[in-house]
């Protein structure tokens, strides 16, 4: 039983790493991606190929997977963001990119195509995940509270005004994309060494959707929100034994409901803090905004 709980937490933490990156990209910088699962896949395959075929050290392979994700993110971002595409054109471009990655993974000899890569060593365990997610959350938090993070937030809030505040819109967006792609790459590498088997069909729109839903539900402009939302999204369906299909129905519906009724999500521009929790227990009539 305990093993099972640890398993769910482990899976949750893998996604927390990816979602934290996406939170910076969508939640803080305001860009929409339909293909982040592709960076996840790139990280997974890079790390797996290195340990499986070339006998690399697990941690170095993880680093390589992270770097691969980041580099590809940078490469994709450079032309598409430079063109200052509208948000929806950009999202469609990421969709196209995701497709391209999928086709690539299914057709390159080294990835063994649609059959996938079995037999990857299971080096990912709970302590590793706890450390990795702590590092990623800490780094993301530092980023957000620095001038680089504020630039991203300004871009999200009003990019016209941001430009008039001296913010380099292109670099700000590219930074966020690269960071989120690197996080997804790291999560992918950890994923591969957790399940010990990967194939292209695992990295689909389902994964991208779940990550986006967690960011939106958790609250754009927050890091703790998406973290909590991710753990809920992984934990509750597991607990209730809900089939994948109905999860997606729920995610889809949730996205619409949140947009219509509570666009700020769970945390909405704020972080989980003692003040906030105290606020929930404050007696009504004592003032303070909800």
């Amino acid at each position: 039983m305990l093993q099972y709980v640890f398993g769910v937490i482990s899976l949750g933490l893998i996604y927390v790493i990816a979602t934290t990156g996406l939170a910076v990209f969508t939640g803080f910088t305001g860009l929409f991606s339909l293909g982040h699962a592709a960076f996840f896949a790139i990280g997974a395959y890079t790390a797996a190929i290195l340990t499986y075929f070339y006998g690399w050290n697990f941690y170095l392979a993880l680093l390589a997977g992270t770097a691969a994700g980041g580099l590809v993110g940078f490469a994709i971002g450079y032309p598409t963001l430079k063109a200052k595409l509208r948000t929806d054109y950009f999202a469609i471009a990421t969709l196209g990119f995701g497709e391209a990655v999928r086709v690539l993974l299914e057709n390159l000899p080294i990835t063994q195509g649609a059959r996938g890569l079995p037999g990857i060593q299971g080096d990912t365990n709970l302590p590793v995940l706890l450390v990795a997610s702590a590092i990623v959350i800490w780094a993301a938090w530092n980023l957000i509270h620095s001038r680089h993070g504020r630039a991203a937030i300004a871009i999200r809030e009003d990019f016209v005004a941001a430009e008039m505040m001296g913010v380099d819109i292109f670099m700000g967006r590219l930074r966020s994309l690269t960071f989120s792609a690197a996080c997804a790459g790291l999560a992918g590498g950890l994923f591969a060494h957790y399940f010990c088997f990967i194939q292209p069909s695992m990295f689909t729109a389902y994964m991208s959707t779940q990550m986006t839903a967690a960011v939106v539900a958790g609250g754009m402009g927050s890091i703790s929100g998406p973290v909590i939302a991710t753990l809920i999204f992984i934990g509750i369906p597991e607990a209730l034994r809900v089939a994948n299909i109905w999860r997606l129905v729920a995610y889809g519906l949730l996205l619409v409901l949140i947009m219509v009724f509570r666009p700020q999500g769970l945390m909405g521009y704020r972080e989980l803090s003692l003040d906030l929790v105290r606020g929930w227990f404050r007696r009504p009539g004592k003032g303070g905004k909800p």
């Binding site: 969508t26 305001g30 860009l31 929409f32 339909l34 032309p79 598409t80 063109a83 595409l85 509208r86 948000t87 929806d88 054109y89 999202a91 469609i92 471009a93 969709l95 196209g96 990119f97 497709e99 391209a100 086709v103 057709n107 009003d158 990019f159 016209v160 729109a205 959707t209 986006t212 839903a213 939106v216 089939a243 299909i245 109905w246 997606l248 129905v249 995610y251 889809g252 519906l253 949730l254 996205l255 619409v256 949140i258 947009m259 219509v260 666009p263």
Partner: protein, 290 residues
């Protein structure tokens, strides 16, 4: 072989054109890419299928049911998922998330309730090909080309000649001025979505008849985006040209290179266009709403 490929390309091009027009119609009014459009097309297809198979309806009745059903669904989609965002003047990111949520919800709902089974339409047109000078074309394809052309012409006449049509065209230039001139914007937008839905019904039915009916067939709207971008987003004639062009080009790639490459080709074309010529052939580059 050349003429053969061309004719096949025209047939699928006609369907793409219908989808692209529906998509551009909404875009031209609201400056918004409706990512949920694909799922409406998919639902239109299912409605036609079940009308024919469960209700035993003849093809023309199934088509009408599909048109009405899809129009209603598209209209509801707008009212439920987008109208409150519109009133709140939410940023385009929120619209995209809501659209994506709708798409995922509908797709997976169908998946969960009806199943992933690929349905194929009963034979409406006998598999006879019309042969002429050594070139064969399926009766279905001929019908598709003819019907698409008729539909597009009807839409064109409506937009040019009727009062409502003129109001729609005016709204595509400046929706605010429209309401100042006494047009009920809310009703107009609802009508536009219903029209787009009607087009979705037609294209969905033909797609289903030509290929198969399955829950994720909505992703074919990616082709609609590409077609609309080629022609120039916001331009209806552009959408028609773009659709036909894409259909023909794609079919040639599929026939002369390989069918695997076909989708990668289309997406690469899209990304290239977005970078190099985002206004497409006839479009205006509308400023994103901030």
């Amino acid at each position: 072989m050349f003429v053969q490929t061309l004719l096949t390309g025209l047939a699928i091009g006609g369907i793409y054109a219908l989808m692209a027009v529906g998509y551009s119609l909404v875009f031209s009014i609201l400056n918004f890419s409706n990512f949920a459009y694909g799922s409406i097309i998919m639902l239109g297809s299912y409605i036609a299928y079940f009308a024919m198979v469960r209700l035993g309806a003849p093809m023309w009745a199934a088509l009408i049911l599909s048109i009405l059903g899809a129009a209603l669904l598209c209209f509801l989609n707008e009212r439920l998922a987008y109208s409150s965002l519109r009133r709140r003047r939410a940023s385009s990111l929120f619209f995209m998330i809501s659209a994506m949520g709708t798409a995922i919800f509908l797709e997976n709902l169908v998946y969960a309730l009806i199943g992933a089974h690929f349905y194929s339409f009963p034979e409406v047109f006998a598999r006879t090909n019309i042969s002429y000078h050594g070139v064969a074309i399926g009766v279905l394809d001929v019908f598709a080309i003819v019907f698409s052309s008729v539909t597009i012409y009807a839409l064109h006449t409506f937009l040019q000649k009727s009062r409502t049509g003129i109001a729609i065209r005016a709204a595509s230039y400046d929706i605010q001025v429209c309401s100042l001139n006494g047009v009920n914007n809310n009703a107009l937008i609802g009508l536009v979505f219903a029209l787009a839905g009607a087009l979705a019904g037609v294209s969905g039915t033909f797609l289903g008849m030509k290929y198969l009916v399955y829950p994720t067939m909505g992703w074919i709207t990616n082709k609609a985006y590409i077609a609309a971008v080629i022609g120039g987003l916001g331009s209806l004639p552009g959408a028609v040209v773009g659709g036909i062009l894409l259909g023909v080009l794609e079919t040639f790639v599929s026939a002369y290179v390989s069918s695997v490459v076909r989708d990668v080709f289309s997406f690469s074309l899209l990304v290239l266009l977005l970078l190099v010529m985002p206004t497409g052939l006839f479009g205006r580059y509308l400023e994103e709403k901030v």
